[in-house]
Amino acid sequence: MGSNLFVNFYETVAMILFAVGFTTLLLHKNMIKKIMGFNIMDTAIYLFLAVKGYINGRKAPIIVDGVTDTSAYINPVPAGLVLTGIVVSVSVTALMLALTVRLYRRYHTLNIDLISMRAKREDL
């Protein structure tokens, strides 16, 4: 059991990073740190995918020197998934940052608890 952790070193790291990001996004009060947590979480997923898609000793799936045998190349699909995922997480990050800017302008704090307290006190 323990030796598996070393064989699958990258996957282990990816899972630890995922957990770090997830807990930061869930528990941290500071909005900017929440966004950082979200990015760590997503990047950990991309690391996991990239590692799973890599096969030791093989090359990137670009045909050079006319080698068309599939056993020479790694799986290109995870790379595509990672790219798509990056696009998604960039747009979500942009949206979250925009929200944070607006909240900061209105409530002059980044602390989400303080923000919701001040919003409650504010009369609509």
Partner: protein, 497 residues
Amino acid sequence: MDFVCNFPPFSIIFCLACGIISSALNGRAAKRLSIALVSLVGVMSACVLAYTVKTGEAFIYVMGKFPAPWGNELRVGTLEGLMALFFSIIMLLSILGGLRALETDVEEARMNLYFVMIDLMMSSLLALIYTNDLFTAYVFVEINTIAACALIMIRANGHTMVAATKYMIMSLLGSGLLLIGICMIYDLTGHLLMSNIKEAIGVLAATGQYEIPLTVVIGLVCIGLAIKSALYPFSSWLPDAYGYSTASSSAVLSSLVSKGYIFLLVKVFCRVIGFDVMVGHKITNILFLFGILGMIMGSLNAIRQHDVRRLIAFSSIAQIGYIYMGIGIGNNAGLVAAIFHIMSHAASKSMLFICAAGLSEVSGGSKNFTDLKGAGYRNPAAGIGFTVGAFSMVGIPLFAGFTSKVYFAEAALTGGEAKMEIAMVTLAISTILNAIYFIRAVISIYTPRNEHFQNAAYRPAASMVFSIVLFISLNLLLGTFSYPIANAIGSGLFMFG
């Protein structure tokens, strides 16, 4: 391949295209385009539904003509057609019903952006319904989240911004879990298309290989989607998001956004992992438990509310609990009941939000029950609509909510002894709790007081009256002619395989 088979991709692409065009139009043109678009999608979905009912089998649309293990596919059966048709009807009626409230809540200059988001929302819902590819489903889940966040915060005030932030945080947690779950499924099976995954998982389950990773995957995907669709302990963001946004947004969010995720979960159950494998991993018991908790806690919280919108929002949590309880019963009848309740809840809840906005309109914009006293007399259409919605939620015969409760009870009878007893008792308790707060609300709006809100010149918007009338007829239709609809759901689930 018949021409009708092109309609599902057309409807998704039309929605995306209209979203892009709307960003360059002014508010009024964007509104007209959006309404026309949703109606067109409704007509196309009706054609698709009629086609699949006629042929009696599902068809697969191959995007870009790349063959099965590599390409991207849409898969359309009776259930998908039915859901698409139903979602577009609800979307159309929600927009129409909230038009006047929209004009007061949203600045004129930003009106077109609202309809951009409506178009994107429609496209992502359709994609979630039709897609046969898990990763595409994830991408559209994110589009759905972003559009929903924008729909909440388009009414620019402090409360909606905080609500949108909380919604985003919870949603991102959910989609993170969903994404890692999907990645693990890809690693386990080597496929992203649902039908291929199911074959591979069938082999894995039969040989007992990768038992623990499979359990982890099931847990991650189910919890991720449960967070996003606001199952009880993860629903802290919901009351603010539904309570403070504009009427159309609340209606769309409560009746479509969370339901889209639940439908995706049903697809994961039936088309990706396989229902027997899911039941074998006991995840249904967990969903059942949380569903039961949600039914009780949502209603208990709703009783304490003095704000009509927040009351309806808390009742949503209870109703989501019903749906998860249905899924958690763990047999086919439970799934049919859950999907039927998706429809009946969507029809009643969006009507309640629209009517609550109509009642506030004649009570000086207040949402508090003390100000709403007698609002049912001042705005009769909204009053009747609210009453019908409340009756449906409580489960009075003839209305949609009653029928879905009957289906739940029937399903529970076949779900094993322990689950049957718990489900029956909770159904009874939850019905009483629903009755306490909804009947109180109805009595409150028909208590003749607050004469100072009297305004003889008030005329409700024609679009709102139109949408309320259609909502009521839809509700009665679901309540009285449920048999063919439940039949269609059953055959659609059978097509899921």
